[in-house]
């Protein structure tokens, strides 16, 4: 699927940092306990520059609202088909629904508050993922979550790539700090440094993804090269050394057959050791997101991939530890 221009403004725009800045959010999750210190709330922003083959949040990739259709909840009543003014929905020989999503996009249906096919569906099989909110609205929502963070929790921005909506993300983070809310971000690294610079002023923790050291393989598996990602990580490490903040934890999704080869791990280990970043959270591949692909009308390349074995996890951990890194596997984190 071709990547179209973001509907929420291009990277060149510099909107003033106000509470009216708008963003596209696809989920808010409470009682997140492995995404920073304390009990937190995760906010997921829609849109990402990468298209990783193993992505577990495929609904976060594209920067516009999308339809999700669940076959398990679908009753095959065809009301959605009848309700659609643009004939974007059809039925194949087996009776399964087929949605021409380019039609939805072209007609801007999903931007509206009331979407005809979603309204018509009685079982909740047809839903829209991606809601437009202002920074003010999102901050108010955080205040409702706040009483459960106690003193050590806060908000973690994730996605997709949260910095793919830089004005919104930075304004939100600034708003959080103004309200004494602890902030963390989960980022893929492929972001113009100037935006990170603005965000860093309001960030306490950074979870930074690092998948592959080889640029060609990185492009092959994620759609983009890793030059910017590596460069940013270097600058981030410098920032951290200079100012003592933010706390940086490198996240390595471990995908068997894609990035678990010893040389890749060894290179990552050496690179991080050199930068002085010594905390790594290794995330074993999982396929919990598989049904989301189906609901988005996408194909998951890693559909039949099995998660890493315990032994391979141990091997990777050992290799990283050789570089004097602290390795946390999965949800076994010290925070």
């Amino acid at each position: 699927m071709k990547r179209l221009a973001s509907v929420v403004g291009s990277h060149q725009d510099r909107l003033p940092l106000q509470s009216e800045a708008k963003g596209l959010v696809f989920d808010v999750l409470s009682f997140a306990v492995h995404d920073g210190p304390g009990c937190r709330t995760l906010v997921f922003l829609k849109g990402c520059p990468l298209e990783c083959r193993w992505c577990s949040n495929p609904e976060g990739q594209r920067p516009y609202p999308e339809l999700m259709h669940s076959n398990t909840r679908c009753e095959r009543c065809h009301k959605c088909l009848q309700a659609c003014p643009f004939c974007a929905i059809s039925v194949d020989e087996e009776g399964s629904l087929s949605i021409s999503r380019d039609i939805c996009l072209r007609n801007g249906c999903l931007q509206q508050t009331s979407v005809p096919c979603v309204q018509a569906c009685n079982t909740g099989a047809m839903t829209v993922v991606g809601t437009c909110m202002t920074v003010g609205q999102l901050l108010d929502r955080m205040e409702r979550e706040r009483k459960f963070w106690r003193r050590s929790g806060g908000v973690t921005l994730s996605g997709g790539e949260p910095m793919y909506q830089p004005q919104f993300a930075v304004a939100f983070l600034e708003g959080c700090h103004q309200r004494y809310i602890h902030t963390a971000i989960e980022t893929c690294g492929h972001v113009a440094w100037e935006y990170y610079e603005q965000a860093l002023a309001h960030l306490d923790w950074v979870f930074y993804d690092l998948k592959l050291m080889d640029a060609e393989k990185h492009r092959q598996y994620t759609g983009l090269s890793n030059n910017l990602i590596l460069a940013n990580l270097e600058r981030l490490a410098e920032e951290q050394q200079a100012r003592g903040t933010p706390r940086v934890i490198v996240r390595i999704p471990l995908i068997p057959g894609y990035n678990d080869a010893t040389d890749n791990i060894q290179q990552i280990g050496a690179f991080l050791a050199e930068l002085g970043l010594n905390e790594v959270n290794m995330l074993p591949f999982h396929r919990l997101g598989a049904s989301k692909y189906e609901r988005l009308g996408m194909v998951c390349e890693c559909q039949d991939l099995l998660p890493p074995t315990t032994d391979s996890l141990k091997d990777v951990q050992r290799e990283l530890e050789r570089h004097a890194l602290k390795v946390y596997t999965g949800s076994r984190t010290p925070f």
Binding site: H34, S56, C77, N122, S158, E186, F207, H286, L288, S331
Partner: protein
């Protein structure tokens, strides 16, 4: 240990009912600490639930005898109790450290025909007596069929109430008992009295039961309970000492000053002496049996144990305990005795860790009791508590699901305001982990002064997935107690000493008059009455006159309030009237001895002898469903005009074009068998209307209005002693049968589907915004105005893995409590539940699976992946 047909997540095991199936995926798995306790547990699992006629037989023989049948209350009863206790067969099993049991069988209860005989008779004879009020409720009750239950006749064993087994040769005795008590039982006399002196209110009361607006009256089932005990007198004076005390009070009386009040006291003390003599004889009989067993036993080890038991029993039959084991044995004897004299649930040992601590501490300090031995004793205690059964006919079991609610409270504060945690309480928690039986359940009284270490130990126990401990808020409880009993002189020290009664109720420690409840009142059925102008749509019985106007939302709400006031007032007032029969026939005399200040005052509980006589109204159930239904009506019918009232009622009658849950045996709103599509849109609208549990002020405000109005109504109703009743909201498992008695409702719930449980838990599958939103909804009103609120929450074990995870769960609890929440309890989802979630995803719409940075609902994950998760997580545990 019932294995209910209700969907897993709605089952009773929230209160600690242990499912003996495999539970993997727990972070902590307990195993009994010794071979002895392992064996005792196995016997418990193998035992079937028996009905034993011994106690009521001897009771009745004495009660009707010529010498005493003319005597006044409570002396006649005391003599009958003495006779019963003195004549029971003693049964001691090898390996037991704590002995004495309710019946001749490991698990069992007695048919308490002096309370109610009709329900028991129809259960035993399988014929329904037309006068049996419990029948309406029984008809809608679906019970579990497994574990210790005896659902059908087998061989020489007859099934009673689909739960108990009675030997065929005992049946003639049961028949004789039922025939004798027919017309004489407390239930019969209560209802006859009500019929004669209650006027037209009697008819309204009957209609309330017939339509299952409320479950059967408590006189039929269990009138007593929701109380904590004060073991002070048995421990400090001993049985003989208590008899001596009563004698001394009698001796003090001046013969020239014997007015009616003094005479009543004299009679009461004599009655207590009779009961104490009965207890003494009962214990001594057991001591003799232990001696006898010791003489014939061949194994030297077991022989020695029997001799030890005999020595202990002989001693405690009269004296104060000399050590921890004797103190525990004596507490057990008294606790058991209350269970035998009454049909009582929610009889809680209270702050047992405080009561027994001095004995424990002394033994430990002197090196006479090591930790392992103490743990073993506590595990034995758990088996003993779990063996207690209550017999009250099928309706009772639909409400209680086999749990007797013996609740031990740990934590909280000492009277001086410091943290009350101690080593014994830690061991009590430990034994709950190693010996995960249904009873006793554990509650942590959360106070910020508790140490983090103690609280994390309790969290460890939560992680075993048994459902306990529950957590309750000390500050909210103290606010309630001082507001409820302050005018009766409750001090700050007494407020600090409180313990949880029943499952979660706030009660003074061992010093209160108790009324379990008249039954459970369904607010969802009330919504039905409002919709159908005062007629119950299921039975077509007219309960109330039609309203004069129903044109606007304000009219609807006014009718709701009016119908609530009328029915609730009559229903609760009838409790007082019924209590006259309780006082006449079935006063708790053992219970009175264990309640401050009965012995000192010279009056039993029913004569006002307790220090605190304010009680609560019978509980209401399904406030959440009612709020959801009212929200649908308000929004769809009156504000948006999306549906007309008649269209809505038509859809409800047609069950939205679905088969009834009763027919399909699927009790969740999402498991539906559609018969026609005409109402699909309407069902979707009703289901999508605002639901409690999502932090949505639209419906949360309605909820608040309902519960606050309910409070104002009951505060205007006097209890037996003239005190205003306090509001009580809980369901136990009555939300099953009460739901089965409702048609489809405006909240999008289908006919026969179980209602929401507890009091602030969302209706299953409707809380879609995560745990904080659920908690925010639950916090929309003042919890300290209520005897309790109740919230059950599901959490995935991965979310609270490790010490970090435990601390985060604790933070969640603390946040809820700091913001005024009273109670919270957790279902830690395990693989057994995940497997169930595979088969019934509709029950688990809101179950989240968390992995760092990733989000997904379990039900959306395809089966192959789910299998993998289940397998992988166990695998990870091994790695």
């Amino acid at each position: 240990m019932t294995d209910s047909l209700l969907p897993q997540e709605l089952q009773y095991n929230r209160f600690g009912d242990y499912d003996s199936g495999e539970i993997a995926l727990r972070e902590f798995e307990g195993e009994p600490s010794s071979d002895r306790t392992k064996e005792l547990r196995k016997q418990f699992w193998d035992a079937k639930i028996a009905l034993d006629i011994e106690f009521p037989y001897y009771y009745t023989v004495k009660w009707k005898s010529k010498e005493i049948r003319g005597l006044p209350r409570p002396l006649r009863r005391a003599l009958a109790l003495r006779h019963a206790f003195s004549n029971l067969t003693s049964v001691i099993r090898p390996g037991e450290l704590l002995v004495m049991q309710k019946t001749r069988f490991a698990r069992g209860a007695a048919p308490q025909v002096q309370f109610s005989e009709k329900n028991i008779w129809s259960a035993a004879s399988k014929e329904v007596d037309a006068d049996d009020l419990g029948a309406s409720f029984d008809r809608v009750t679906i019970l579990g069929r497994h574990g210790g239950n005896v659902p059908e006749d087998v061989g020489n064993v007859i099934s009673v109430g689909r739960k108990f087994g009675i030997r065929k040769e005992d049946l003639p005795v049961l028949t004789w008992l039922c025939e004798y008590w027919d017309g004489r039982s407390a239930e019969d006399s209560a209802l006859e009295l009500e019929r004669r002196v209650f006027g037209s209110y009697y008819e309204l009361d009957m209609k309330i039961f017939q339509t299952v607006l409320a479950s059967a009256p408590s006189i039929t089932t269990n009138p007593d309970g929701r109380v904590t005990l004060d073991y002070r007198l048995p421990l400090e004076l001993g049985i003989q000492g208590m008899m001596d005390y009563c004698q001394s009070r009698i001796a003090e009386q001046s013969i020239g000053k014997l007015d009616s009040e003094a005479i009543e006291k004299r009679i009461f003390w004599h009655a207590e002496i009779e009961v104490l003599e009965g207890l003494k004889a009962w214990v001594k009989n057991y001591a003799k049996e232990a001696e006898r067993l010791g003489q014939i036993e061949e194994s030297l080890e077991q022989k020695t144990e029997y001799e030890e038991i005999a020595d202990i029993l002989y001693w405690v039959s009269e004296n104060t305990p000399r050590n921890f084991r004797e103190a525990l044995q004596l507490v057990w004897i008294w606790h058991l005795a209350v269970h035998m004299e009454l049909v009582i649930s929610g009889l809680s040992p209270g702050r047992l860790g405080q009561t027994l601590y001095p004995y424990f501490r002394e033994d430990r300090d002197k090196g006479k009791l090591d930790r392992d031995k103490a743990l073993e004793l506590l595990e034995c205690m758990r088996i003993k508590f779990s063996e207690i059964e209550i017999c009250g006919g099928g309706g009772l079991h639909g409400k209680l699901s086999g749990n007797a609610f013996n609740n031990i409270s740990v934590g909280g504060l000492k009277p001086d305001g410091t943290s009350a945690e101690n080593e014994l309480e830690e061991l009590i928690i430990e034994s709950a982990m190693t010996m995960a039986t249904p009873s006793p359940t554990i509650t942590v009284i959360y106070d910020p002064k508790l140490s983090e270490r103690f609280m994390l130990k309790a969290v460890e126990c939560v992680k075993t997935g048994t459902g306990y401990p529950a957590w309750v808020n000390n500050r909210v409880a103290m606010e309630f107690l001082l507001s409820q009993h302050g005018s009766d002189g409750m001090s700050l020290e007494e407020a600090r000493s409180w313990g949880v009664a029943g499952c979660i109720e706030i009660a003074p420690a061992g010093s209160a008059f108790c009324v379990a409840c008249r039954g459970f009142y369904s607010l969802e059925k009330l919504v039905e009455l409002v919709l159908w102008d005062g007629v119950d749509p299921r039975t077509n019985i007219r309960v109330l006159p039609p309203p004069s106007r129903m044109e606007t939302w304000d009219d609807f709400w006014e009718v709701f309030k009016q119908y609530l006031t009328e029915t609730l007032t009559v229903w609760n007032a009838a409790e007082n009237l019924n209590w006259v029969s309780h006082k006449q026939n079935i006063t708790g005399l053992v219970l009175s001895a264990l309640t401050r200040n009965c012995l000192e005052t010279g009056a039993d509980l029913d004569a006002g002898g307790a220090a605190y006589n304010a009680t609560w109204a019978s509980p209401v159930v399904a406030a959440v469903n009612a709020a959801n239904s009212l929200a649908s009506v308000k929004k769809l019918v009156f504000e948006e005009h999306a549906i007309s009232m008649n269209e809505l009622k038509e859809a409800l009658r047609a069950n939205f074009g679905r088969k009834s849950a009763i027919e399909t045996e699927r009790y969740s709103v999402f498991e539906q068998v559609k018969t026609e599509s005409a109402w699909d849109d309407m069902l979707a609208m009703c289901q999508d209307a605002p639901k409690f549990g999502n932090d949505d002020p639209y419906v949360d405000q309605i909820y608040k209005n309902i519960v606050e109005y309910y409070t104002s109504v009951v505060r205007n109703i006097s209890n037996f002693f003239g005190k205003p009743m306090a509001p009580l909201m809980l369901s136990v498992s009555s939300h099953g049968p009460l739901g089965q008695a409702c048609l489809a409702t405006p909240d999008g719930r289908l006919a026969g589907v179980t209602l929401a449980d507890a009091s602030v838990s969302a209706h299953p599958g409707t809380d879609l915004k995560g745990p904080y939103a659920l908690l925010n909804s639950a916090l929309c009103f003042d919890h300290s105005a209520f005897v309790n609120t109740q919230l059950n929450m599901k959490i995935h074990p991965r979310a609270i893995e490790g010490v970090q995870g435990a601390k985060k769960l604790l933070e969640l609890i603390e946040a809820y409590m700091a913001n005024g929440g009273y109670h919270i309890q957790f279902n830690i989802v395990d693989s057994r539940m995940l497997k169930d979630a595979q088969d019934h995803p509709e029950h688990y719409r809101n179950l989240l699976v968390r992995v760092a940075g990733f989000t997904e609902y379990w039900v959306e994950i395809g089966k192959p992946i789910q299998d993998e998760i289940i397998a992988r997580t166990e695998y990870e545990k091994a790695g």
